[in-house]
């Protein structure tokens, strides 16, 4: 056994060029496969990441009963939420956890009545991550501040529809904790414009403190929302959080925005289907190259037979070589794929050249950042090793069965 291992390993490096070609083939193919897979993940984040941020984040932690509730913005207090924030931000892959006190209500003026969501936020923390609170989208006034009272930050869509501007006062009614409407006249402090009027019309922002005061929440909030680094990899985080937090309902954007979720899933199903075909192409290639590498050595197989090795032993020897080369190829491929993805993940692929979308920058990024998925990559590596073993087995059996004398005469 030990001898066979040694022989196989030596054989591998005896003809360096041949082995290098095989390993290079495996490495390159794996790199392409890994890049393909990681671009699917990056694609989701690039196209849907901001849309998800705009409509409730990747993961939501809320009081129990939220899912069963009838209303879009039920008033279910969940304590001060600091434990949830702490637990969430300790998870790798979570970029930020935000505390919100949300309720539903109406704004009215002479232009009409507009149903809205009223979001109480922590301005300092929200500023760094919320797409609507970026400097380039602020068209008038200023952002919210932590100690702001009865002032609102609204979108241009709502401002246009109501015909109001910064400094104007509007009556805002929202459902308080006792299920009654609390009406306050609030001053518009700032207006943002992300060029999505219908979305801008649906939400107004107030400071967390003001929301807690007006809607009688005391120290309570209604949700903690999490933004993750990669969209589409929320499930492991939710599992971890379920284990470490109790007394909350944890959901992802998949339940909150089912239609977006199914769009993403469809894209994924199609692209994953295609990646199986790519794997098939790679398999054909690897098989082909290994077949060549072994048939090339028919003479050598004859020699081994002539000095007394049994067909079984010869097959075993070549099988070992196949496994070894497969492993080497898989390792090289994983490393190459990882490095390429890492570099692309840092710099991003700029597809801005093909798209004219200055108007919708808040909704979509201009770069795709491929995201490395270790599980998927390991699957690919195993596949490469298995294909390589199978590819070695077939010619080894065939060659070892030949008469040594014949094999020796093979040109």
């Amino acid at each position: 056994m030990k001898l066979a291992l040694k022989l196989a390993w030596r054989n591998l490096w005896r003809n360096r060029r041949r082995t290098l070609i095989v390993v290079m083939a495996m490495g390159m193919m794996m790199s392409f496969l890994i890049m393909y897979d990681s671009m699917i993940l990056g694609f989701e984040t690039a196209v849907y990441g901001n849309a998800i941020k705009l409509s409730g984040g990747n993961i939501q932690i809320r009081a129990i009963g939220y899912e069963d509730s009838y209303s879009a913005n039920p008033m279910l207090p969940m304590g001060n939420g600091l434990d949830a924030v702490q637990a969430a931000e300790a998870q790798p892959g979570v970029s930020v956890a935000l505390r919100h006190a949300n309720t539903g209500g109406l704004v009215t003026n002479r232009e009409g009545v507009f149903p809205i969501g009223i979001y109480g936020i922590e301005p300092e923390k929200e500023k760094s991550v919320n797409p609507v609170m970026q400097d380039e989208f602020l068209v008038d006034g200023r952002f919210l501040q932590a100690d702001d009272g009865e002032v609102v930050f609204i979108g241009k869509g709502l401002a246009d529809a109501m015909g109001i501007g910064v400094g104007d006062r509007i009556p805002v009614s929202g459902k308080n904790i006792h299920e009654e409407m609390s009406k306050r006249t609030m001053t518009v402090i700032g207006i943002y414009d992300i060029n999505l009027a219908s979305l801008e019309r649906q939400v107004v922002y107030v400071s967390l403190k003001a929301a807690q005061d007006i809607y009688d929440l005391g120290d309570n909030i209604t949700e903690v929302i999490l933004f993750t680094e990669v969209t589409g990899k929320e499930n492991p985080i939710v599992e971890e959080l379920n284990a470490s937090l109790s007394g909350y309902e944890i959901s992802t954007w998949r339940t909150a925005i089912p239609e977006l979720s199914s769009t993403v899933e469809m894209k994924n199903a199609v692209m994953t289907g295609f990646s199986a075909v790519i794997l098939g192409i790679a398999a054909i290639g690897i098989f082909n190259i290994l077949l060549m590498a072994i048939y090339e050595r028919t003479k050598e197989i004859g020699l081994l037979g002539a000095i007394g090795l049994k067909p079984r032993q010869i097959t075993f020897l070549f099988l070992l070589e196949g496994i070894m080369i497969g492993l080497v190829g898989a390792i090289v491929g994983t490393l190459m794929g990882y490095l390429i993805t890492l570099v692309l993940g840092i710099f991003g692929i700029d597809y801005g050249f093909a798209v004219d979308m200055v108007d919708y920058m808040a909704l979509m990024g201009t770069h795709i950042y491929p995201a490395f998925d270790i599980n998927l990559t390991l699957q690919r590596a195993v596949m490469v090793a298995v294909i390589s073993t199978l590819a070695a087995l077939y010619p080894a059996i065939e060659a070892s069965r030949r008469e040594p004398a014949d094999a020796l005469h093979h040109v």
């Binding site: 083939a25 890049m35 393909y36 149903p115």
Partner: protein, 408 residues
């Protein structure tokens, strides 16, 4: 030249299995590229058509300052005497149907719930309602003189447990800046297979919508559907509506078209990966073949064949493999794509929320084009031939004497 072709054909035939496998790799790659481009194109086209038929129409006429998302009811933002204009437009040969619509925002109040909705006043008899009539799941479609009836979408009916015959209260913004509240009876439930749209759109007859919003003989837009999307520009030219503007589906679906461009840009990179794998197969297979046949090259060299000719030999082999592979690929890919273009991939309930301006149906019908087939074939051919270049030039550099002494 002729003998090089002959030799490379023989070389390919000598190693049947290897040639077959290489060609299959190219073939599968070509077929995959074909499928990918048709699928993405089909997905985009499908949702574009859906978007046009349900939301924007091929063309819209409205007042200069009108913005769809504001649902403004100011006189200045509306079209006066819209039926006259629409019947005039229906006289144009390429126009399938044209009808006025009124867009207002409102709130559904039911039990303790208030839900923001878009109220669309439609002419119930117009052929522009075809997609909604096709999608009725319960009850009846609207009639023009109905004063209390509305249609709601399936998701709203499910989440509030509302059925035809049930009543809901609607609070509707009016043109004088007030709101009006009235009880309506649900006549029917429709679905367009696009939850985002169905959830937030309620239909009522145009006349009723005009009455309740106090817009009299005004409408937000004239909504125009054509028989053929390609006639859009021609029809746009022939519409005369002084004082109003005509917008085509490209202007009305800007966000959508951007997502489309984005997907195309992405597909470019995905296609590169597929081509990369295919080219790796060819590059390494040919490289292996060069080293395997080192001695053979030595003999050819010794017999007087020049490096240039040996390179041509290998390049010819690569080209023949490429042509064979691409032909097989097209033979597999084209029927497959055509089959799925008929059947479609079914994906269940889909669609981005209507507010984001794009919608998706629940099946993808790949949309193959000759242009795609040609560009995919050319890309596969070029990549394969290029991959053959390095091995071929390696072969041409061999010294005959050394090559003859090679073990292989």
């Amino acid at each position: 030249m002729n003998y090089i072709l002959k030799m490379s054909l023989r070389n390919l035939a000598r190693n049947k299995r290897r040639s077959a496998l290489s060609a299959i790799a190219i073939a599968v790659g070509t077929a995959l590229l074909l499928m990918m481009s048709a699928t993405i194109r089909g997905e985009m086209r499908g949702s574009l058509e859906l978007n046009i038929n349900l939301r924007t129409g091929h063309l819209q006429i409205h007042a200069e300052d009108y913005k769809d998302e504001n649902m403004s009811l100011k006189r200045a933002d509306l079209i006066e005497a819209p039926t006259e204009i629409s019947s005039q437009i229906e006289g144009i040969a390429q126009v399938k149907a044209a009808s006025p619509r009124l867009n207002a925002s409102g709130i559904v109040a039911y039990k303790n719930e208030t839900i923001g909705v878009q109220i669309l006043g439609i002419d119930p008899l117009s052929a522009t309602n075809g997609p909604y009539i096709d999608g009725m799941v319960a009850g009846e479609f609207l009639t023009p003189d109905d004063r209390e009836g509305v249609l709601i979408g399936l998701p709203l009916s499910e989440s509030l447990n509302l059925n035809p015959g049930d009543s809901i209260d609607l609070i509707i913004n009016t043109s004088d800046g007030d709101t009006d509240e009235q009880r309506f009876t649900i006549r029917g439930v429709y679905t367009t297979d696009t939850p985002g749209y169905d959830k937030a759109t309620i239909f009522m007859p145009l006349e009723k919508a005009q009455t309740i919003t106090r817009t009299e003989n005004f409408a937000s837009m004239i909504y125009i559907l054509l028989y053929d999307m390609d006639d859009t520009a021609a029809v746009k030219e022939s519409i005369h509506a002084p004082g109003y503007i005509v917008e085509d589906w490209e202007e009305l679906n800007k966000l959508f078209l951007i997502v489309m461009q984005l997907s195309n840009a992405m597909m470019f990179f995905f296609n590169l990966m597929v081509l990369g794998v295919t080219s790796t197969v060819i590059l390494n297979t040919l490289l292996m073949a060069v080293y395997e046949r080192t001695r053979e090259m030595g003999i050819l060299g010794a017999l007087g064949m020049k490096g240039r000719q040996i390179r041509a030999l290998f390049l010819t082999e690569a080209t023949l493999l490429a042509i064979g592979g691409v032909i097989i690929g097209l033979a597999i890919g084209v029927p497959l794509v055509l089959y799925f273009a008929q059947q479609g991939f079914y994906f269940g309930d889909l669609g981005i929320s209507a507010s984001s301006g794009m919608m998706l149906g629940n099946s993808i019908y790949p949309y193959p084009t000759v242009g795609d087939a040609i560009s995919v074939s050319i890309a596969a051919l070029l990549i394969t031939i290029l991959s053959g270049y390095y091995p071929a030039s390696q072969a041409s550099k061999l010294e005959p004497v050394e090559a003859l002494h090679s073990n292989n």
